[in-house]
Subunit: 452 residues, 2 copies
């Protein structure tokens, strides 16, 4: 990536970079669909009222106005439009609006751009793509989906050309139950402090807990001990029990997290861990919380986060609890490209360039191209009968592996030949039968130097 | 479509409708890639200065502002951001910015949302998807690309589940040369009047030409005669010649249009016509212009338009002439859905639901699912061991064709069976070997009652 975005925070890819992004998007779609998730998209805009319903983030939102602002100058602010900043809030609105048309539990994936007016930095853009999966129930949603989504997301990430990753899982009930059990009732406040652990360290968090939340030293130390527990198997249960705190919510949380880790450690050993320091900022999570780091690239931040939310969407008395995760596609692709984790085998979809012997043969060359395309081969036809060397150079510059020559034998028959410009091999070929080797049919995106 | 968008002009699809849209998008991508077009995307925002560089359309643009507008209150208006209203202007900017990294002639497709603050109506949304193809040259671009793009777009449209269509082609040089040849030098003005032909009829256009452009009755009638010519073959050339006008630019235009129609009428007889009334509003077109109507749905407006532009993009003295077309995907999909031209065979990607005999068998059911997915079969696992009738109903409501049962034989072995819930047939099956019939593997989107 020698280039810089011409607008800071709004990355754009060259064609060969876009092939890597497309590979990531196609791979995610494939995994999600294999697990029965339906595609939906929501509009890019929401009303400001809708976006701010759950509090937070107003400073990061891009509002919209028509340049010729003749319309509704007096419209209430909450009815004005703004670009969505994630896909969860729009999805919740979509579920409520279309509840009568959806089959619950409803499984959907959603891959779209979102916008945040934050200061751009490495791994944080103003326009970026997220890939979300969620399952939403009508009234209730079995806990098993919290287990399943961890498995799906591990499979989705494992199929990408990225380094090894760790899905860290925690449970809000576990943490909140524990805090209550030691006598700290402002559980949201404790979570907010614990969330700063990685940034400011345990001593400062302890001070925060004591100064801002009135915790005793013992309470602060117990909260920090909980946050220090991190296991690849279900042994975290015993470690928590050893802290000697008892609380009903804590028991529920322990049981839930144990279910996730038990199944995940069996299916994806080493990739999923119980990490009792994970807090996740957003306050709509009510149980399981997930976040994911790339091993060796932890400073990039979480590449995939989410959790269980029991009250994000409701319609009158009807509640739609859900669980979901969101992959930061642009963050991943930016890293894949900057670190050259993967590359495309050529710049263009084209596998064959049909050359022209003379300018009148263009239509005949189109016939050849048509025959090849019937077998799914991507073909371009030269636009001008330049010297063959120049036509071959056209192919070479784009990484097109094959060029096709048609020669008039002079007796009304045609001689077709195809040349592999990498090896120089040239053979006679029938446009109705010839196909390139499977690996040359489409640009291949392959991982370079993956460490697992 | 019983539902109405909750925000007028911002359509959203239900999962089964989205499958139709995905089918259209996938089909377009496939055709474009078969013809060697590379995918790119540009950011959704441009600076206002960039968007208005070519005049026109300022009233339709959505400007952006951060809700907490602490940043650059004094930034010049032209540096402020707005959502793009088409993909041509952003593409021109992209080409100029990345010229050093692209191989010319550069062929790209671009499928993205665009936004216009127009009054919503049937066939016109405020947020909609366009699918563009363009070829751009460095300095010059052979005319043959004008011919090729007509062929590609016909192939792309013919693969969609839509009624028969007509690609109408004209040439600005032909029209301008003709107008000059009869002594009307304000050719842009004449084009603007002729553009209103369909809306206001020939008499009012004649009056406009005379009153606003100072044309004589004879000149007005000659211009209208030219606009009345419409042929499925190259006979338009003779009809124009018969009007007895001579002009060099007219000759060039006639020759160019003849090339397009000669090749297209051979490859796509009846689908492409010379229509000398086509003007296209945008003033950056300099030669070929295209537009497309659905037969029987002409009032929907053009579903695919474009043309040749010789001066849209430039970098100092370096010019990047191009030719391209843009398909109105949302307009098409809205029509496909409202007229039920096509439907998806089921709501979800899922082909098989693996049922649970009891709650402890979930992990075992995941094993079965994993084996099936290895062969590309989309599988869901039931979340709860409800009565089989209820589990089957889950599948039935979503159109999932197969349910899978695993029974413990009591001797440590398992009996696997799969049931086609449409026929009721149930057979023993091996999770390592069984696959559904090819037509059940994925949701099929099929044209209903297509008239060709």
């Amino acid at each position: 990536m020698a280039r810089k975005a011409s607008l800071s925070g709004f990355p754009e890819w060259l064609p060969q970079e876009r092939l890597v992004e497309l590979h990531v998007l196609d791979s995610l779609r494939r995994t999600f669909e294999l697990h029965g998730f339906s595609s939906i998209e929501t509009r890019a805009v929401e009303t400001i009222g809708q976006l701010l319903r759950k509090g937070e983030i107003d400073k990061e939102v891009y509002g919209l106005h028509r340049l010729q602002a003749d319309e509704d100058p007096g419209a209430p602010d909450q009815d004005k439009l703004a670009l969505h900043f994630d896909l969860t809030v729009p999805f919740a609105r979509y579920v409520v609006e279309n509840a009568g048309h959806l089959a619950f539990p409803f499984r959907r994936y959603q891959i779209q751009k979102v916008w945040r007016g934050e200061r751009p930095q490495e791994g944080r853009a103003r326009e970026f793509t997220q890939a979300d999966i969620d399952v939403v129930g009508d009234g209730e949603l079995p806990f098993r989906y919290d287990v399943e989504l961890a498995l799906v997301i591990v499979e989705a990430l494992a199929a990408l050309p990225i380094p090894e990753f760790r899905l860290r899982v925690n449970n809000r009930k576990l943490a909140e139950g524990f805090y209550r059990g030691i006598g700290l009732d402002d559980t949201a406040g404790v979570l907010r402090s614990i969330d700063k652990l990685e940034k400011i360290g345990p001593e400062k968090v302890s001070a925060l807990l004591q100064e801002e939340l009135g915790a005793t030293l013992e309470q602060a130390e117990a909260a920090l001990k909980l946050a220090s527990i991190r296991t690849e198997d279900t042994s975290f249960v015993e470690q928590v029990r050893a802290l000697g705190v008892s609380n009903e919510l804590l028991d529920t949380g322990l049981d839930e997290l144990e279910q996730v880790i038990a199944e995940a450690s069996r299916r994806a050993p080493g990739r999923v861990l119980a990490d009792l320091s994970i807090a996740r900022g957003l306050d709509y999570y009510t149980g399981t919380v997930y976040e994911t780091v790339l091993v060796g690239h932890e400073q990039l931040g979480s590449i995939c986060s989410g959790g269980r939310y029991d009250a994000l969407a409701s319609k009158g008395n009807r509640k739609f609890p859900g669980v979901g995760l969101s992959i930061g596609v642009t963050r991943l692709v930016t890293r894949i490209l900057s670190q050259e984790f993967a590359a495309a085998s050529r710049q263009v979809p084209t596998a064959v360039l049909v050359t022209l012997a003379n300018d009148d043969s263009w239509s005949q060359a189109q016939d050849v191209a048509e025959q090849l395309r019937l077998r799914g081969i991507s073909v371009e036809v030269a636009a001008k009968a330049e010297k063959f060397g120049k036509q071959i150079k056209y192919a070479d510059r784009r990484g097109i592996p094959f060029v096709w020559f048609t020669t008039d034998n002079g007796d009304g028959t045609l001689l077709h030949e195809v040349k592999d410009i990498r090896s120089g091999d040239q053979v006679a070929a029938d446009p109705e039968l010839w196909s390139p080797p499977a690996e040359d049919l489409q640009p291949q995106v392959t991982a370079v130097g993956r460490q697992d």
